[in-house]
Amino acid sequence: MPKLTIDGREIEVEAGTTILQAAEHLGIEIPRFCYHERLAIAGNCRMCLVEVEKMPKPVASCAMPVGEGMVVHTNNANVRKARQGVMEFLLINHPLDCPICDQGGECDLQDQAMTYGGDRGRYQEEKRSVEDKDYGPLIQTWMTRCIHCTRCIRFITEVAGTPVLGGLGRSEHMEVGRYVGSAVSSELSGNLIDLCPVGALTNKPAAYTYRAWELKKTESVDVMDALGSAIRVDARGNEVIRVLPRVNDDINEEWISDRSRFACDGLKRQRLDRCFVRKEGRLVPASWGEAFAAIADNVKGMAGTKIAAIAGDQADCETLFAVKELMAALGSPNLDCRQDGTRLDASVRASYLFNSTIAGIEDADALLIVGSNPRIEAPVLNARLRKRWLKGGFKAAVIGPKADLHFKHEWLGDNASVLADLAAGKHPFLEVLKGADRPAIIVGQGALAREDGAVLLGLARQVAEAAGCVKTGWNGFNVLHTAAARVGGLDLGFVPQAGGRDVAGILAGAQSGEIAAVFLVGADEIDMKGLGNAFVVYLGSHGDAGAHRADVVLPGAAYTEKNATYVNTEGRVQRTRLAAFPPGEAKEDWRVIRALSDALGKPLAFDTPKQLRERMAGAHPVFAAEGVVKPAAWGTFGASGNVAAAPLASTIDNFYQTDPISRASKTMAECTAAFGAGCGCNGKKTGTHG
């Protein structure tokens, strides 16, 4: 390993490390624009120049590998002068419009110009101006501000896998632009805004509405898909202005999907900010007391078996736990958190987790995807799969919707019988899985939300066992969820208790009158007509399908408005943090359930979040540890039987609108109009929109 001296300090680093990286090990920061640790090295901004003794000229430290005995100076007079020169050149054509630029205050160029910029320009000629490009409804372009670092080009090519951006023309005339007729419609396109070191690409929906220093930053967890990506919620006053990713190498590295980032304007629209009670067929505003009284009138004294609860996709664990306790107190066995009807088995934890972990999937060398389109179900995970594929030595195959996944894979068809063939050892891909050191399977909700879902789950288990996906130190059996609440619900056992009904049974019972009261905990994706004449209580944040059907509406908090627990698809327990208060009279959901339990005469045994969490962790030990994934024990699960002929499809038909928040979002509606339902790269519809 080469040993070198940087600013008089010796360090030994691995061969192939660049000077910039070695300096970072020592805590020495070298300014840069084009270098980004998750992208290929370009070496074109020249801001990271350092002096290396015995080299005739300053060298770009981001692209220079270390050598034995190098003596590097990162901050002497020569280096500062060189960087000042670079900065002067960068600023020649930069408009210096910081006062009206949304990047102002969080701009790399602005920050570094404070150190290396001159106090006046020597450039007297005309500045160049560049026509703005149309990057769609999410990204505002100000191409005159562009300093040609090419981070956006590298991200969209390498990470997102939709190469539509490039540097066109040359020298003075070079412009970053997109290929004619193609849209910047990657599901990860919002990350370009974070990557842009200047104000050339900015947040279009939030344009001109904030200054970076006005925002209160709250570190939280995303619930728009089941990955639980680390996010930072930026709010001003009580308004969420934007959502940004945080670095979490275990889950999202530093990317988030466009829905996670831009659906936040849906938090301001269609909100339930007070109670409503249905009177003479119309929902009329009511106080909390009136709403609870209306529920008590209908539910008090009712036989427990006639009461049911269905949980939605963004319900937090505290609420689910409180609802489960309340249902137990009311004597109801009818509860279900699988509103999409997936045949998941809550009794074996390994059967519903992404067991390899998200970061761990990078260790897999063969992958079978069943009934899922990860590109629209979990774009960040898809980027991870692409990263794995780019490393080489990775064979992937898909049984399910045919889609451009941005990594090379074999499409085995969308018929579930292919999975049966694999399980029976009659399909050649089984040999590929068997031959791999660490084979993995990803089972999507599209395979499980079917009549024969349990059979397919059983078949997937058989394939996993036959192919050696489950062995010491490696469990490659993965279920990819689409709902942030699902794993938490299953961990809490929010499934039919002994003799209870599942979602289909509850709906059938409501039709026949055997179920007389239904609690919807943010459940909007069920068939509301199926609820028949049942008395429906809806607890949620948005006036979506559930609230329209409800007889009593109770306003709850969205994920940015509560300190709530979610369990991601890997089984990692994480907490969101309150970034803004719920609107109007809305309250944290579990508090509503706690108050309701009083009104129903069955008070629950906790009054504070601490008490609730202690009780929850007591009953379900997985909730005791936050942020870690504990390997789940393998077991037998799934059913045997015949598979149906219906093709396997993704459960998501529109990437941009999957839940009450994104359906209320104007930005997401604009994206749907502009890009179709996702997967619309190059403007060509692939016919795989779910």
Binding site: T157, P163, V164, L165, G166, G167, L168, G169, R170, R178, Y179, V180, S182
Partner: protein, 200 residues
Amino acid sequence: MSNEDMTNFAFTPENLDAARKIIARYPSGRQQSAVMPLLDLAQRQAGWVGLPVIEYIGEMLEMAPIRVQEVVTFYTMYNQHPVGQFHVQVCTNICCLLRGCDGVAEAARESLGIGWGETTEDGRFTLSEVECLGACVNAPMMQINDDYYEDLTPETAKAIIEAFKQGETPKPGPQNGRQFSAPEGGPTTLKDLTFAGEKG
């Protein structure tokens, strides 16, 4: 980039054959290295490089179209707009400028009746102003299709263009009688050079 007249593009069988030979020059998996010769081949076939060419070659070499477009826009010798049968490119870079390219340019414009970047109405001639073509020793010069016409004067430039108009192909190279880039008026040094064994 415009899409003026080109709606689709495919190599002719002969060119397809040539393209395969070009691709075969590079190691397998590195077929993208063939992008420049293939673009040249396509330009010789179609006259210019339109979007259909970019997409066709991108597909052939498994490159994203934007990667091909980057190459096309980087090199000025790929014509991004249709050009006439004869592409007259007059160098106006420093050596030619010092040696009187203004007169050559003026003669070309006058003779063709068009300005920079324009094509004559009959579609036969396109006139372009270009940067250095590397024939400084023979400045001023112009390139017509693949041939260099050097050591021009306004008169000789005009004569060459007129000859093309008549359907003739004037002899390329220096127009003032000198041999390639040898000194004007014949050799000035090594005139009495003798080699071992020669008598002199």
